[in-house]
Structures are given as structure tokens and as C-alpha cells.
């Protein structure tokens, strides 16, 4: 009985899907979502290998490839930069650009937000800043894909941030001292269990917000651009072309700003939370 009704429902759903396909907008999501192949039309499609480990699907996907591309770019660039510093302390070429950003992360993000002892977290903050920045920009080039527009990726980055925040707090204050320091001073005894739960939840909402913010910002811009361009095909008219292109270009420029801004915000908030965990007395 139950199975039967489920079958009829499934048929209904299939019919609904067929109906939906006529005014299909799933191609927008298709561009934003992860995929098992890299679409290089008209040059062809690269199918990525499927891998399994202990029953888990660990296939290489488009976003994995773009993360690797970002990592390769970073390793190559910074290898060159590091080598150029060995030759002379005066930066030139790419070193000028990276130095500006490195100094920005060090002097504007890490130093004011973490305060004393910021040097320990600098490698992490620099890596996460440049990684997110590169991933964001890779999504803006043709055939590119935004790995940071995937909730799995941002959630993982936020989790790594979470680990660094907690590890920083625990290394400085000790595990017990850190947990005790979560509670505000001068709390009535009966409030302590409640507040402890609240503060503990607060610890988890911070990286959650980090993950959602980065994911939503990187996804939204792409969807808006695609929707604006999609208007041309949905409305079947050339009249909207200039409007669509102009708006899409505007959003694209905005995306460049957002790409920079989100890398900055993720790093800044991470260092802020690290600072809060590290110097609990404040």
C-alpha cells in the first residue's frame, strides 16, 4: 500500500520534472554547483576520475581541481617571491603585490585583532587569506569555478579556523582555564550551567557564520550574473541584451570587490576570534 502510493508519487514527480524542464533554469545551478567533469565547451569536456576510499566517495570533482589549481598558483608564486627575496631585500614585480597583501594581513589583520603572540597564527592566516582570495578569483575567469562557493569547502575552512581558534585558546590558557574563561566574571552560580551551554553554542556559531557568509557571498554573485544573462534567453529578445550585459558587468565588478572583501573578512574574523580565545581577559 505504502509502496504503491510512493510509486504513484514518484511518477507524479517525474511528470512535474518534465514540465519544469521546458522553462529550465537548472543550468544556473549547474554552473554554480560542483561537477564530476570540467566543461570546456567548445573544446570538450574533461571527465574526472572516480575514486572510492573505505566506502566513501572521494572522487575528484571540479571544485577539487580548482582548489588544486589555486594551491599550485600559490606555491609557484610564493616560491618565486621567496627566491627573489633571497637575491635582494628590495621587492620587484610580483613580490610588490604579494608583499602588500602579506603586510596587510600582518599589520592590518593579525596584529590589531590578535595582539601579542600573533606571529604563531600568521602562517595560517596568510594561507587562508591567499587560498580564499585565489579561489574567489578563479571563479571570475572564463571556464573557472568557485570552490569557495561550495558549502562543503567553506564549512571545512571554517572548521579548520575553529580548530585554530580553540587550539590557540587552549594552548595559551590551558584546556580547563580556557573553558572556565568562556564564562563572564561575576556570574550567579545558578546561571553557570545555562551560560556555559550558551557560550559553547556561541563558539560553534562563529565558524558556522564564517562558512555561510563566504559560501553565500561567492554563490550569490554568480547566480545574479547568470540570471541577468539568462534573461536574454528567457525573454527571447535582443532588447534586454544591453541591459543584461551592463548589469552583469556591474555585478562582475562587484564580484571582484566581494572576492577581495570576503577573503579579508574571513581572515579578519578568524583572527578576531583567535584573539578573543587567546587573550580571554579582555
Amino acid at each position: 500500500m505504502w509502496f504503491h502510493s510512493a510509486n504513484t508519487v514518484a511518477d507524479n514527480v517525474k511528470a512535474a520534472q518534465e514540465a519544469v524542464k521546458k522553462t529550465d533554469t537548472s543550468w544556473i545551478l549547474h554552473h554554480v554547483l560542483d561537477a564530476r567533469e570540467i566543461d570546456l565547451t567548445p573544446f570538450g569536456i574533461i571527465h574526472l576520475p572516480k575514486l572510492h576510499l573505505l566506502g566513501m566517495d572521494i572522487s575528484i570533482t571540479k571544485h577539487v581541481v580548482f582548489m588544486w589549481i589555486a594551491a599550485s598558483i600559490l606555491i609557484f608564486t610564493f616560491y618565486k617571491v621567496s627566491k627573489s627575496y633571497k637575491k635582494s631585500l628590495i621587492p620587484k614585480g610580483v613580490s610588490n603585490l604579494t608583499e602588500t597583501l602579506v603586510l596587510f594581513v600582518r599589520d592590518e589583520i593579525a596584529k590589531p585583532n590578535i595582539g601579542k603572540g600573533y606571529e604563531k597564527f600568521l602562517p595560517y592566516l596568510l594561507t587562508v587569506f591567499f587560498f580564499i582570495l585565489t579561489c574567489n578569483f578563479l571563479g571570475l575567469i572564463p571556464y573557472g569555478s568557485t570552490a569557495t562557493g561550495n558549502i562543503s569547502v567553506t564549512a571545512t575552512l571554517a572548521t579548520i579556523s575553529f580548530v585554530f581558534i580553540q587550539a590557540g585558546g587552549m594552548m595559551k590558557n590551558g584546556v580547563f582555564g580556557y573553558l572556565k574563561g568562556l564564562l563572564p566574571h561575576g556570574l550567579p552560580t545558578w546561571l553557570i550551567p545555562i551560560m556555559f551551554v550558551v557560550e559553547l553554542l556561541g563558539l560553534f556559531t562563529k565558524p558556522f557564520a564564517l562558512a555561510i557568509r563566504l559560501f553565500a557571498n561567492m554563490t550569490a554573485g554568480h547566480i545574479v550574473i547568470l540570471a541577468l544573462l539568462g534573461l536574454i534567453f528567457i525573454l527571447h529578445t535582443y532588447i534586454v541584451v544591453p541591459v543584461s550585459i551592463a548589469f552583469a558587468l556591474f555585478i562582475f565588478l562587484l564580484e571582484i570587490l566581494v572576492a577581495l572583501l570576503q577573503a579579508y573578512i574571513f581572515t579578519m574574523l578568524s583572527s578576531l576570534f583567535i584573539g578573543m580565545a587567546y587573550h580571554q581577559e579582555h
Binding site: I58, F78, P123, V128, T156
Partner: protein, 182 residues
């Protein structure tokens, strides 16, 4: 019951249709993200962050030291300039003093010479006057002598002629006449 199964199937069908929704979590991707990020962190820490940050620190120290050095050099230069200026002022003062002194000396010398020459001139004038006086006196004396001689000669003549009374009377008359005429 039917509604529940509807939702159930819809979820699966949706997942089937677009191979995962926007908020689907893919464990494989998570694993790869962790692996990639940790690898990137370790590699960049070794090849980039450590050397670059140490280079930046080194350079900052060099700049700081250079600035400090420049500052001390500037201060030294300022001191030197001040010294030079003081020395110059002193030299100027000294020169002025020397000039003043020599001017004063010259003035004194001039006055002295002037005074001396005045004195000399006066002396000369006085000498000349004395000489004139003396010459005058001499001339007067000579004149006196000559006058005396002439008088004596005249007296002698008179005495030679003064032998007879009538003659004497005649003479007296003659003098008297002359006197009356006058």
C-alpha cells in the same frame, strides 16, 4: 502518510536531478579540502611564510637602523654646523676687534703726529720770531753805534769850529731862526 512519502521521494528525486543541491555536503570534497589546505599550509609555511616574514622583518630592521643612523648623522651635522657658525662668529668678532683696534691706533697715531707737528711748527715760528728779534736788536745796536759815531763826529766838527764867540753867536742865531721857522 502519502505526504510524508511525497517529501521523501521528492528529496531523492531532486538530489538525482541536479546531482546535489546548493546546500548538500559532499564528504569527498571535505576530505580533499582538508588535505589540500593542510598541504598548502605546510608547504607555504616552509617555502614562503617563514623566509618572507623573516626577510620582511630583516628589512624593517635595516630600515629602522638606517633611519636611526641618518638621525644621528643629522644631529652630528647640525652640531658641526653650529660649531662652525660659532667659530665663524668668533672669527668675525675678532676681525672686527682687530679692525677697531687698528682704527683706534691709527686715530691715535694721527692725533699724535698732528700734535707733534703743531708743536714743531710752533717751535719753528717761535724760533723764527726769536731770530728776527735778535736780528732786529743787532740791527738796532748797529744803528745806535752808527748814530753815536755820527753824533761824535758831528760833535767833533762842532768842537773844531767852536773857537770864536761871534761865530758861536751866529750859530745860536741860526738855530734859533730855524726853530722859529719851524
Amino acid at each position: 502518510m502519502e505526504l510524508l512519502s511525497y517529501i521523501f521521494v521528492l528529496a531523492f528525486a531532486g538530489a538525482d536531478a541536479v546531482q546535489g543541491g546548493l546546500l548538500d555536503v559532499n564528504p569527498g570534497l571535505i576530505l580533499w579540502t582538508v588535505v589540500t589546505f593542510i598541504f598548502l599550509l605546510l608547504v607555504l609555511k616552509k617555502i614562503a611564510w617563514k623566509p618572507i616574514l623573516s626577510f620582511l622583518n630583516e628589512r624593517e630592521n635595516i630600515i629602522k637602523e638606517s633611519l636611526e643612523k641618518a638621525e644621528t648623522a643629522r644631529k652630528e651635522a647640525e652640531l658641526l654646523i653650529a660649531d662652525n657658525k660659532a667659530a665663524m662668529r668668533k672669527a668675525e668678532d675678532e676681525a672686527q676687534k682687530i679692525i677697531d683696534q687698528s682704527r683706534e691706533y691709527a686715530e691715535k697715531l694721527k692725533n699724535q703726529i698732528l700734535d707733534e707737528s703743531k708743536v714743531t711748527a710752533k717751535k719753528m715760528v717761535e724760533d723764527a720770531a726769536a731770530q728776527i728779534e735778535r736780528k732786529n736788536a743787532e740791527a738796532f745796536n748797529k744803528l745806535k753805534d752808527q748814530v753815536a759815531e755820527i753824533a761824535i763826529n758831528a760833535a767833533e766838527k762842532i768842537l773844531k769850529e767852536n773857537l770864536d764867540k761871534p761865530q758861536q753867536l751866529k750859530l745860536v742865531d741860526k738855530y734859533l731862526d730855524e726853530m722859529n721857522k719851524n
